[in-house]
């Protein structure tokens, strides 16, 4: 195994990790602030890919503005979903929330089939990125760098939002103590709507960003949501940096696991999830639950 091959494999893992991060970070934010395990998260990711295909009408050159439109649509859809469906079940036992988001998964999967047909959809990268970059004598898709850059940009923007803005501080506070925040006069319901909408916008963006490299079908949702669970469980439920670390680990394990035991690379990933849950249930970068929970 020579060095250029390792580098290439590493970059491939990084590209995969990038889309995992966009997919999972919203799930983590939503769990952190709303306490809801969103089984429909992968469905919004899948929906994002279809929305991109729809808004650019199959034209790869529309990718850039298409991504912006999809993220905006994701935000609106997320806000509406939170208002109409999730708000009534806050405070109810967890299994109702799980059932509700699972129902949403079913509705979105079939809704997409109904609207877009069940055929696979694909969209090549824009012409400027349709060529491979040569790294150490081996071809590497240029578009992967876009995905990596996008994930890093989102991570940076999230860091700025959460650490450097007032709204971000409120979101962080909501993950710690919602009641206290309410007592301080913060409009918590509106805050939760925004967090959920942001999470959905990121998932939709993540799904849309993979479309130039992958064909999508409605069925990718059930796989995507499990991948997102693995990432946030490994990284720590509710933690943005955990999602980044988790996505990185899973992406690279997949990329290099294929070399060691090609058939069981996915099993390694589940094994990591099991081990983390046993040794450090709150995840690598998560906080142990407070005593009161």
């Amino acid at each position: 195994m020579d060095l250029s091959f390792v580098v290439l494999q590493f970059l491939t893992g990084l590209a995969y990790a990038s889309s995992l991060f966009l997919l999972a970070v919203g799930l983590s934010l939503i769990f952190g602030a709303l306490g809801i395990v969103n089984f429909a998260h992968g469905s919004f990711y899948m929906l994002g890919a279809y929305l991109l295909y729809w808004v650019v009408r199959g034209d790869p050159e529309g990718l850039w503005w298409g991504l912006v439109v999809v993220a905006a649509l994701g935000f609106v859809i997320g806000a509406a979903t939170e208002r109409l469906l999730l708000r009534p079940v806050y405070g109810r036992p967890e299994h109702y929330q799980i059932l509700l988001t699972y129902a949403l998964l079913l509705v979105i999967e079939d809704g997409v089939k109904l609207l877009f047909g069940s055929a696979y959809k694909s969209l090549g990268p824009p012409a400027a990125l349709a060529y491979p970059v040569w790294i150490a004598g081996a071809p590497f898709p240029a578009y992967y760098f876009v995905q990596i850059a996008l994930a890093l940009a989102v991570a940076g923007a999230l860091w700025f939002f959460l650490q450097r803005t007032r709204s971000g501080a409120l979101v962080r506070a909501a993950t710690q103590d919602r009641e206290m925040l309410e007592a301080l006069g913060v409009n918590v319901p509106r805050l939760l709507t925004v967090v959920f909408a942001m999470g959905i916008a990121l998932a939709a963006l993540g799904g849309a960003a993979t479309l130039p490299m992958q064909t999508v079908s409605p069925g990718i949702a059930v796989e995507a949501v499990i991948s997102a669970f693995i990432v946030v469980v490994v990284g720590g439920l509710g933690s943005v940096w955990g999602a980044l670390l988790g996505a990185f680990l899973i992406g690279e394990i997949q990329a290099f696991g294929v070399l060691v035991l090609p058939e069981f690379s996915i099993a390694f990933v589940y094994l990591l999830m099991v081990v983390v849950l046993l040794v450090r249930p709150w995840g690598l970068l998560g906080r142990p639950p407070a005593v009161r929970t």
């Binding site: 079940v89 109702y96 059932l99 998964l105 509705v107």
Partner: protein, 303 residues
């Protein structure tokens, strides 16, 4: 007396079903019984301990693959594989439960999910042993069990036994101990109940029963597929249990009947069955929190 009359009527209906149901209806009824057993098994843990397992597909699938492998590789007759299926599923539940029941709430759900997906990943890819994603097909459960009527009665018998077991456990000191641990773990421990032992026992029994459901599934489909172990299979049991009402002993069975019958009905008219199911579930969660069993006035909730 009125309750007894109802029970007799339901029993008569169930026992006579193969003689008046059309062929297709009978196939659907068998599927409903299998899911009913699976969901009742799942609910043993969910209702009595409050722990939501998202990994019961692993036990269902372990039972199914035990049957399929023993029949295909060792030439065992179908019926003889039942104890093995229950045993293997129970052992797997013992192992997974040993690690999982100590954790609480969302971590328990995630850990059972992770374990089950790990088992699925191995079964899905281990072509040499499990046939990988092709599954194990072309199994012949013998002349008698190839007959839908015989299989129906077998499924009915196993479901009845499973239901009886869950009911007996519910009313036993064991059941009271489980609910004490569910409602107030600290106090339960203070009076000398060890949560770990009780939870592990309940989880193991539940897994073994789910294995019996997997045993039936093999005869119904004459095959075993990795899908039996995928997380959406676990979701089916959860849906059926909550749809019917997890707090009623018969809730999961009722939910399974509605789930499977509604599915068959909708599927004969449109391919968009998941969409209909999703909308039904949304309505259920938003407007009918007690499940279908809650429609009967709510007074029947278990105590």
């Amino acid at each position: 007396m009125k309750t007894n009359a109802w029970i007799l009527a339901v029993l008569a209906l169930l026992l006579s079903a193969p003689w008046w149901l059309p062929d297709y209806g009978l196939e659907v009824a068998i599927q409903a019984l299998i899911l009913a057993l699976f969901a009742t098994a799942f609910n043993l843990v969910f209702a009595e301990t409050g722990l939501l397992s998202f990994g019961h597909a692993a036990f269902f699938g372990a039972g199914a693959y035990t049957v399929a492998l023993l029949m295909q590789r060792a030439g065992w007759p179908y019926l003889l594989t039942l104890p093995a299926a229950v045993l293997v599923a129970g052992l797997l539940a013992l192992v997974i439960g040993f690690f999982s029941v100590r954790t609480s709430r969302i971590y328990f759900t995630m850990l059972t999910l992770a374990f089950a997906q790990l088992v699925w990943a191995v079964v899905h890819k281990w072509y040499a042993f499990t046939g990988g994603d092709n599954g194990i097909t072309g199994l012949h459960p013998g002349a008698l069990w190839g007959d839908a009527r015989a299989l129906y009665y077998l499924a009915l018998l196993l479901f009845a036994l499973g239901f009886y077991l869950v009911r007996a456990l519910h009313n036993s000191p064991f059941g009271y101990a489980l609910r004490a641990i569910r409602d107030n773990p600290a106090r339960a421990e203070a009076v000398g109940l060890s949560p770990f032992g009780y939870l592990l026992a309940a989880f193991t029994l539940s897994g073994a029963l789910a294995g019996a459901a997997g045993f039936l599934q093999v005869a119904w489909q004459r095959s075993a597929f990795p899908d039996f172990l995928y997380w959406t299979k676990s979701a089916e049991a959860i849906i059926a249990a909550i749809l019917g009402g997890a707090q009623a002993l018969f809730g999961p069975a009722l939910g399974s009947l509605v789930f499977v019958e509604l599915g068959a009905f909708v599927q004969s008219r449109t391919e968009y069955w998941p969409l209909v199911l999703g909308l039904v579930l949304l309505a259920l969660v938003l407007f009918l929190p007690q499940g279908l069993a809650g429609l009967g006035g709510g007074g029947r909730a278990r105590g």
